[in-house]
C-alpha cells in the first residue's frame, strides 16, 4: 500500500507538506505566527503525517516524534495515575457515544418496519429488522441517488485536472503578480455563494443550462477552482525545483515536464482532491436547490424534500438519510487519511 512506501526518504516529494514547504521557502524565520511551521521544518516533520498515522504505524511514529514521552508515562504509574487513565478513557468513550448517537438512531430507525416507528420505541433495537424503509426510500430517492453520482463523479474529475494544471503553474511557473492572483482566486472559496446566486441563475438560464445536471457540474467545477488549485499548488511547491530545472536543461518544455515529472508524483494529490471535491459536490445543497429542477434533483435536495413531508414515515426518512450519507461515509472509512489530509489542506496556511 502507498502508506508503506511513503515512509521511505527517497519519495519524500510524493507527500509534500504545505507547512514544510512554506517554511522551507522562507530563508529566515518570520516572526511570531510561523513558529510552528519553523519547528516542523527544522524537524522535517509533516504535520499531516502526525495526525494521519494508522494504528500499526503509531508506535514507530511515537518513537520518532516523541522519544521520551513514553518512558515518562511508565515511571509514574501509581494508583492515582491509573485512576487518571481510567478517567481519560471514560471521557473519550462518552464523546464517542455522543458522536455515534445519530448513527445509532439512523440505523435502528431505518431498520424498523413502519408500524414499529413509534415515539416510545425510538431508542429500541429493531427486532425483527426490516428492510421496508430502505425499499421505500430507494423507490423514492433512487433516481436522485443516480443523479448525484452523475453529478459528483464528473465534477470531481474535471475539478482535479483543472486544479492540478493551475497548481503546477502557480507553484512552478510563477509570473509577476502570481501570488496576488492566487490570493484573489482563494477569496472565491470563502464567499457566501448567496452573493453570486441571483446572477448565476440568470447566466445559467441564458446559456440554457438552468435545471440540468450539466449546468450544476459546470458550477461546481468553477467554484471548485480555488480549493483544488490551493491543494495542488501547495503539493507541487514541495517538489524540488532543481528537478524541473534539470529537465529544462535537457530540453523538456512546459507540458513535457508536467507529464513526465509532476504527474507521476501526483497520485496522492489527486486522491485528496478527488475525495474533497466528490464530498463537497455530493453534500452540496444550496447550488443544487437553486439551479436544478425535480427530475434532476441530486440526493440532498430530494432527501430534504422527503424529510420535510409529514406523510413520509420516519423509518423511510432515516433510510433515505443513510443512503445519502453512504457514499461519502464509505470513502471516509476506506480512504480516511486522504480525507483528513484534504481537510487540513483546505484550512492550514498555504
Amino acid at each position: 500500500m502507498s502508506r508503506k512506501t511513503k515512509r521511505k526518504p527517497t519519495d519524500a516529494p510524493v507527500e509534500p507538506s504545505p507547512a514544510v514547504a512554506a517554511a522551507a521557502a522562507a530563508p529566515e524565520p518570520p516572526a511570531r505566527g510561523a513558529a510552528l511551521s519553523d519547528v516542523l521544518a527544522a524537524r522535517k516533520i509533516d504535520p499531516l503525517d502526525l495526525v494521519l498515522v494508522t494504528d500499526e504505524e503509531e508506535e514507530r511514529t511515537r518513537i520518532r516524534v516523541r522519544p521520551d514521552s513514553g518512558s515518562r508515562g511508565a515511571h509514574s504509574r501509581g494508583p492515582r495515575a491509573r485512576m487518571m487513565r481510567l478517567l481519560l478513557y471514560a471521557i473519550l468513550f462518552v464523546f464517542a457515544l455522543w458522536y455515534l448517537t445519530p448513527i445509532y438512531v439512523l440505523l435502528v430507525t431505518s431498520l424498523k418496519p413502519s408500524s414499529a416507528v413509534r415515539l416510545d420505541q425510538m431508542w429500541t433495537l429493531p427486532w425483527p429488522p426490516s428492510l421496508d424503509g430502505f425499499v421505500s426510500a430507494w423507490n423514492a430517492l433512487g433516481p436522485n441517488f443516480m443523479n448525484s453520482l452523475k453529478l459528483a463523479i464528473p465534477a470531481a474529475i474535471i475539478s482535479s485536472m483543472l486544479g492540478s494544471m493551475n497548481g503546477y503553474v502557480l507553484a512552478k511557473w510563477k509570473f509577476r503578480g502570481a501570488d496576488t492572483l492566487f490570493t484573489l482566486i482563494l477569496f472565491g472559496m470563502f464567499i457566501p455563494y448567496q452573493a453570486i446566486l441571483i446572477p448565476l441563475t440568470q447566466v445559467m438560464s441564458n446559456v440554457g443550462l438552468y435545471g440540468s445536471i450539466q449546468g450544476l457540474i459546470l458550477v461546481h467545477v468553477i467554484y471548485g477552482i480555488p480549493i483544488t488549485t490551493l491543494i495542488f499548488r501547495n503539493y507541487y511547491a514541495a517538489i524540488p525545483t532543481e528537478l524541473l530545472e534539470a529537465a529544462k536543461v535537457d530540453g523538456a518544455g512546459f507540458m513535457r515536464i508536467y507529464r513526465s515529472i509532476l504527474l507521476p508524483l501526483s497520485a496522492s494529490g489527486f486522491v485528496v482532491v478527488l475525495i474533497w471535491q466528490f464530498n463537497s459536490v455530493w453534500n452540496d445543497f444550496l447550488f443544487a436547490a437553486t439551479l436544478t429542477t425535480q427530475p434532476n434533483w441530486p440526493m440532498t435536495v430530494a432527501l430534504n424534500n422527503l424529510a420535510g413531508s409529514f406523510a413520509v414515515d420516519w423509518n423511510v426518512q432515516m433510510a433515505g438519510a443513510l443512503l445519502a450519507a453512504m457514499p461519502t461515509l464509505l470513502i471516509f472509512i476506506i480512504l480516511g487519511r486522504y480525507f483528513v489530509r484534504g481537510l487540513l489542506a483546505g484550512s492550514l496556511k498555504g
Binding site: 473519550l92 438512531v105 492572483l181 432527501l303 480525507f339
Partner: protein, 330 residues
Amino acid sequence: MRISRDRVSSLLVIAPSVLAIAIFVYGLIIWTGYISTVKWDTLRPDYTSVGIANYQAIFAQNRFLMDIRNTVVFTIFFIATSLTIGLTLANLVDRQIRSEGVFRNIYVFPMAVSFIVTGVVWKWILSPGQAAYGGTPAQPQGLNQLFGLDPASNRWLTDAHVVYIAKDSPVYGILHDIGLGFITSPNIGIPIALLSIVLAAVWQMSGFVMVLYLAGLRAIPEELKEAARVDGCTEWRIFRHIVFPLLTPITLSAMIILGHISLKIYDLTVAMSGSGPGFATDTPALFMWQTAFRDDSFGRGAAVAIIMLVLVAGIVVPYLVWNRRQETPA
C-alpha cells in the same frame, strides 16, 4: 523582452480558470451589488434604480434584525463550543491511548456527512415529542425520552423562548449604568431553539477542530515541555504558557473557518427547523434565499447577499492577507 514558449503555455493553461473566477466570482458579485440597487421584485427583471431603498427595507424588517441576533449568538456559541471540544479531544487523544485511530475516526467522521443528513437526524433526536403538538398524555421523543425529560418543558428545536437580561437581574442595573443598556433589550437575547442547531453544528465540526489541534500538538517538540518540567512546571502551566501560545495560529485559523461557516449557515437550518418559532432559528442565508427565490424579491435578496458578503469578507480578507504575509516574508 523575449517571452519563452513555455511562459506562454503556462499562461494559456491558467487563463481559463482566471477568466472563470474573474467572471463568476468577481463579475457576479458586482452584478449582485447592482441588483441590490434596483427595483426587481417580480419574476421579470426590473432594473429601475431605487438607490439604497432595498437596504432600508431590509433593516426595517424585524426578521432581519432577528437574523443578525441569531448570527451573533450562533457564531459565539458555535465557535466557543467547537474550539473547547476540539482542543479537549486533541489533548486527550494525544496521550498515547490505545486504539487512538478508532477514537479519532469516530470524532472526525461527521465531517464526511452532509449538513442535510445531519439536520434530518438531529431534527428527529431534538424534537420534544407529542406534547409539543398538544397531544395527551405527553409522549416524549428523542433526548426527552432518553433522559426521561418532560416534553412540555424541554422543547428543544420548538422552544420559542428567548433568554435575555430581565429588569430584576442584578446585571441589568450595572449594564445600564455603564451605558450598555441596549444589551438588555429582549431583541438581543439568546433564542433557545437556536442552541439545538448549535448542538448539531458542533457535532459536525468539532472533530475537524480536533484534527487541526492534533496536528499542532504533535508538532510541538517534546524537549520544550521536558525543559519546563525540569524547571518544575506543572502540566497545566506547561499547557497554559507553552503549548497553548504555540497553538495560536491554529486557533486563529479554526476561528476564521468556523466563523465564516456560521455566517453562511443554511443547509442545516433548512433541514432542521427552517425559520423556527418566532424566527428563533432564522439566518441571513435563509432570509436571502426565501426573499429572492420564493418571494421573487430579487432586489432585496441581493441586498441581503451583499450584507452577508461584507460580513464574511470582514473576517476572511484580513486572514488571507495575513496568510500571504506569512508565506512571503518581506
